[in-house]
Symmetry: C2
Subunit: 273 residues, 2 copies
């Protein structure tokens, strides 16, 4: 039997007003692209969730339970499944109750609406004004404190601009609002560190492991002027070439195409769509 | 008729799994101490909520509606009412839907458990290790992204330690985990700025307006060595003298007693309890 939403394994569409996920953003999430009923990057999503539980001091859910609930909700052959884990309900106060059982939400969404043009010709991207705060205790994991991303995404409403690049307070590139970023410069393929800000994207991790010469390196906004090519990565949207960064036109390069090939090799749909 | 929880004006105890308050901490809260069925600092709470709505781009709720819901939930003569405002439900993605109506939760809690000793003799406080990240776009308002406070509060479990002081990444004092802080040094009464980290507490604001010589000033951890007296302020817990900061004993001074007098003058119970 399939369900659109499971809360702690039971078909439901609501959580308690006392849930600490609502009160404090005290939890984690994962968003998995579903292809033919499976999540090609499942293992990496589970590893990040486990890492996040360790960092926040949450109980690690049993992967078998999550896998079963994923299977129950991922009813369409293609779509997106989102998992939210919180510290569960609590009365007022930041101190976590040692007795709190976590809350587990698993829910299905339709496939993302993606234009094939984006993957062939690239997308328009802007530089956001908001500067990300550095917090090593929260960097890398996919926690529920996402107001910076919400505010950054609210900076523009032009539908022709698909994403926005985010920088930290030193002016170093971090990511897009909902994607990681890779930059091809002089034959190298670089992506920023995520140990002070940002999320360690699962597709970012897969590409760092798979693409020859891909590596983590700090880049300033000024370094981007020398970029030969730029692409964004998201486990939901795949590899998105950047054809324009603010007023500057970019070409879709060899490294971007190699990343798209790897995306397909992982089992995702061709051209991301 | 009284209710313990109202969600958008209706008696309920759950919110949608799609609420952006849960998904991203995309919202605000206020926690009001209730005395004889009223909230003595109501006007300041509403002003901060309005400021937060402006900063996050949320619709400002009608104060009359909140006042009516406050009255419906604040059924005991004494207690605490918590208001949560979120951007409402949305599908996946950080971009706020222009059509989203916010979610409004108003809920009653019993009075806080406070020891009279705390107010007479002071409390034990520690310095937290976590350093707050600087984010001017979110500083001052009482938003729902509170993982830093949760992690800081999880640093200790010794029940004899009531609060922890938080510093920013430059080593400047900001606040306690759930209270503001005032420091008496050489006749001056200082509280840290909250324009890069921290929350502009309503009792902090009332004391800055009321106490002669009270002012905002940056202080380092080293400056605290010269403190003659330190107290914490919270609109729920009132004015808490600090009798020990880590290993160092402090006396409860004249300025602390003046702040406690003002708390009582505002209409709150004597000695905070």
């Amino acid at each position: 039997m399939t369900a659109r939403v499971l809360v702690d394994g039971v078909e439901a569409d609501r959580v308690s007003v006392l849930d600490r996920g609502l009160a404090y953003g005290d939890g984690l999430f994962e968003t998995l692209r579903v292809v033919d009923g499976a999540a090609p990057l499942w293992t990496r999503h589970m590893a990040r969730l486990r890492e996040g539980c360790g960092r926040l001091g949450l109980s690690v859910p049993e992967v078998d339970v999550l896998a079963a609930e994923f299977a129950r909700t991922a009813c369409s052959p293609d779509g997106v499944v989102k998992i939210i884990l919180t510290r569960g309900t609590g009365e007022r106060g930041y101190a976590p109750s040692p007795r709190a059982a976590g809350t587990r939400v698993v829910m299905a969404f339709p496939p993302p609406v993606l234009s094939p043009d984006w993957y062939r010709d690239g997308i328009r991207v802007r530089c956001c004004e908001l500067r990300l705060a550095a917090q090593p205790k929260l960097a890398g994991i996919k926690h529920l404190n996402r107001l910076e991303q919400v505010l950054a995404r609210a900076e523009w409403s032009d539908a022709a601009v698909v994403e926005g690049l985010l920088f930290d307070q030193r002016g170093n590139l971090v990511s897009a609002t909902a994607a990681n970023v890779f930059v091809g410069i002089g034959g190298a393929l670089l992506t920023p560190p995520v140990d002070a800000c940002g999320v360690a994207g699962v597709l970012r991790g897969a590409l760092l492991d798979a693409l020859p010469g891909a590596r983590v390196q700090t880049m300033t906004k000024e370094d981007l002027v020398q970029a030969d090519e730029i692409f964004l990565t998201s486990s939901v949207r795949g590899v998105l070439p950047v054809r324009a960064l603010d007023e500057r036109a970019l070409r879709v390069g060899r490294q971007t195409r190699a990343a798209q090939s790897h995306w397909r090799a992982l089992g995702f749909p061709g051209a991301g769509a």
